[in-house]
């Protein structure tokens, strides 16, 4: 029963530490209930009539939490096998969003369980797809809750887990990596717990700044809270059915800036905060991110102007739209009168590429794209000079060949998921381009699809049949967990005993 059992012992015998997992889920559920205090308070403050439902939901989440923590998960051993991290990750990401359906059901905001599930997963995975056609009619407490789920999901539930399981000696790193998988991020601090704390601090400060800025510019309190949560987490839930067009231009600018910031690696943000700007400018990924944003904006403007739109409107729309897409935030404005197909396809490309690795955004992540493009560039040269030796370097560090293979495999899986998801969506009477775009928008945790013809908003998800909603929910989760954790848990090889 020692917490310091050697690592070696557990290889070959996969016995899941169920007690610990129960305890973990219990604690997380309790935190979840605690987090509902904020929406509850707002609800009371605004007299929106949902106080009782939200309170009930909080209790409803708290009770199983207590049960898990104190009865099923009493006195656990604090160690975890190396492979178990996938299991822990997946179960966390299933339990919490599942419990998150309760507020939607109890307030009666969603028609069916599938709707509630869709909304909840869309929140925690920071996707921002919504089945609510008219969010302004929802109780304000629920709006805040919705945005709050995105904020929590933004940095990731696993960071909570790591923070909670301070006593965990082994396996914590794996859990950390299960969520930031494959991006080879440097930690902010040699000690995991410390770097996690730093991440949360940066994140909170950023949110607070945005909240205050919005408030100063005259945004109503509830809107400011919701938008601050949804923007910094690159979630993209809106509080009004016409998107962000209710906001003043100043607010839009602020939000655009913060969307762009949220698409940057959090470690890079930390450098901004600590004023280490020299290192900041050297990071290839950030430079690529900014370059990509600029190029896309110019292309967008050209597209609009060619389609007959005036320059001012196209510039305003393009900047906002591209910032929203490149950070996979997914806010939208009403479309300009003249729409250009260039923008649709460009949006699609940007969705798949996604934000920087280690940011709250989704997609394939720029770092991977940089590695891929460098490798392919080398490949062309090698076709002419077969004996030349090339290495791929990012930020001056050589990327191992094994890792490159993984990136390629990830790319393949990503496309395969999009295609498979789109196939199921065509069963739900979507046209083929619509299906592909919807699948891509959800696996990249963006939200609204770029091709759907009215508004470009999230209105259309409500019309999907249940199977379509469940498919998209799966895609959101798969995208957020970067595929491998989910596939591992659902592959038979994982459950086979022994090695």
């Amino acid at each position: 029963m020692s917490a310091f059992r050697p690592h070696i012992e557990r290889i070959g015998v996969r016995k899941f530490n169920l007690k610990l997992i129960f305890r973990l889920m219990g604690v997380l559920l309790m935190y979840h209930a605690l987090g509902m205090a904020l929406p509850f308070a707002i609800s009371i403050y605004c007299h929106d009539g949902a106080q009782f439902a939200l309170g009930m939901a909080a209790v409803g989440i708290l009770i199983p939490g207590l049960f898990f923590r104190n009865i099923l998960g009493k006195n656990p051993t604090y160690d975890i096998a190396e492979n178990e991290s996938y299991w822990v990750t997946t179960i966390t990401w299933l339990t919490i969003p599942l419990s998150g359906t309760l507020p939607y059901i109890l307030t009666g905001a969603t028609g069916s369980f599938a709707d509630a599930l869709f909304e909840s997963f869309s929140g925690f995975t920071t996707t921002g797809s919504s089945v609510m056609a008219h969010p302004e009619e929802l109780p304000q407490g629920l709006l805040v809750y919705r945005a709050f789920t995105q904020w929590v999901g933004g940095l990731g539930l696993m960071l909570f887990v790591v923070a909670i399981l301070r006593r965990l000696t082994l396996g914590a790193e794996q859990i950390y990596e299960a969520e930031f998988s494959g991006t080879q991020q440097r930690k902010l601090h040699p000690r995991l717990a410390k770097s996690v704390t730093r991440l949360w601090v940066i994140y909170s400060v950023l949110t607070l700044m945005l909240f205050l800025l919005l408030l100063i510019q005259g945004t109503p309190l509830v809107d400011a809270i919701c938008l601050a949560f949804s923007t910094v987490s690159t979630g993209g839930f809106v509080t009004h059915s016409s998107g962000l067009s209710i906001l003043s231009d100043g607010c839009l600018c602020t939000i655009t800036l913060f969307m762009l910031l949220s698409g940057i690696n959090v470690a890079q943000l930390y450098r901004i905060f600590t004023l280490k700007l020299r290192h900041w400018g050297r990071d290839e990924e950030t430079r690529a991110y900014l370059l990509l944003t600029l190029c896309s904006i110019s292309l967008c403007v050209i597209g609009f102007v060619a389609a007959g739109q005036d320059v001012g409107t196209s510039l305003r729309y393009s900047v906002f739209h591209i910032a929203s897409t490149v950070s996979t935030c997914g806010y939208y404005l009403p479309r300009p009168q003249h729409w250009s197909f260039v923008v649709s396809v460009l949006t699609f490309l940007l969705i798949v590429v996604g934000a920087s690795a280690g940011s709250t955004g989704g997609g394939l992540k720029l770092r991977r794209i940089i590695i891929l493009s460098k490798y392919i560039g080398n490949y062309f040269t090698r076709m002419m000079h077969p004996n030349a030796v090339f290495r791929v370097k990012v930020n001056g560090e050589v990327v191992q060949h094994d890792y490159i293979t993984k990136v390629f495999a990830y790319f393949f899986l990503y496309i395969a998921f999009i295609v498979a998801g789109a196939f199921v969506l065509t069963l739900c009477r979507c046209s083929i381009p619509d299906a592909i775009c919807m699948a891509a928008a959800n696996i990249s945790n963006l939200g609204p699809s770029p091709l759907i013809n009215n508004l470009g908003g999230s209105l259309d998800y409500a019309m999907l049949p249940t199977i379509g909603k469940l498919t998209l929910t799966t895609l959101m989760l798969a995208g957020r967990l970067e595929l491998f954790a989910l596939i591992a848990v659902f592959s038979p090889a994982y459950w086979r005993r022994g090695t």
Partner: protein, 470 residues
Amino acid sequence: MLMVEGSLMLSCLIPALHFADGTASAISASGLFTFFLGLLLRVSYHDARTITDRRNAYLLVVLLWVVLALFGTLPFLATGTLHTFSDALFESMSGITSTGATVFSAVEWLPASILLWRSMTQWFGGFGIVLLVLAIVPSLGINKYSLYTAEASGADNTGKQSSTMAATIRQTLGVYLTLTLLFVFLLWKSGMHPWDALNITFTNISSGGFSIYNNSLEHLTHLQQYIVALAMLLSGVNFMLIFHLVTFRWDRIRTKLDQLSFFLGTFVIASLFVCFALRATAHIPWADALRCATVQTISVLTTTGSLVADTSSWWVPITFLFVILSLCGGMAGSTTGGLKAMRVLILHRNVRKILHDRLHPHAVNPVRLNGRPVSSEIITNVMVIFVVYVLVITVGIMLLMLCGINATESVGAIIACITGYGPGLGLSGGFGCYGAFTTAAKYLCAFFMLLGRLECLTLLILLVPAFWKK
């Protein structure tokens, strides 16, 4: 090469004279022109040495296809069946890359010689790609068609008879010709006019898909449809494999068993799905559903593009499945387009390996194909091709939309062109045609046919600036 094409054109004279449709002089003029130009080039460069430089090899391959396509336009223009160069180029490129996309909304009014010419370009193009892989690969070494060389060398280790390239080429050619003759004979015996049998065999054995009837295979009897389906199925199998099958070389067959079972497995599963889906949505009898499903699925999987019915009215998920299947394609070393079964297999197994590595970090677990480990060189080659493929398709769709084509149509057309399937989605799908596309869109599609046929990298490398530097 031009000489061969010229003589092919001249051979189109026979039906022209036979049916006396008044196109004889035009065809013979273009045939003679091509033939003599080829002769001239041959004579003036007869002292040129064999290609040793890689860059020349890439250039040669691309030029070969472009020149063939350019000269292929002559009969269309000379006979006046097509009036604009873009149409003629589209049709000719579609033929020589054995794609099967057409600008003709109706083909039955065309002169017999032109019909034969279309069929023949496909037959020639279909074989050309196999020949290309076999003949020019050695000078390119492992990089370009490392897939195929890997396969070929794998086979070479097990025996000595066919270890030389010339023998392989001879065998492949033999298989191709035998299959052609066999199916002409079969179709003829099943009650088809020999002329029809010849054309239909030409376009299906090469996985091309041009038809001499407006309603493609629907025109045929059920038995004939199944025969054509068999022809398509065989066109999707590696020709060397067929050779070994016929000569009972079981030890050789084992080296390609994985691909074969993947190819056939995909075919069976997809057909069953399509069969049930057709039964459920179109309410046709089981026998018809099964026939339509099997024939059409194999036509898609081998990227042939012959149509057993008007697929544009089929259920959308079936159409989407067809798009996915055409991207998979048949086996490497056959006449089909798409990614090829082998690459899809390697991609899949690599993912499985990586997953396994994560779960068991200390295990040694190479990607295996047919029981042999696959070298990392090949895996990266496959990966690069996959990424480039996806990228090129996306860019293509974007460009096509810029030409004023709508989204569904663009997706369908680009994928149909790059995989060599032929019919797209919407207006260009089913029994429709590409005639309504704008000139720019037609050039773009023709370019994508070439891109798909030469597997992207060969053509794209010409666009890299470093290629042209000394």
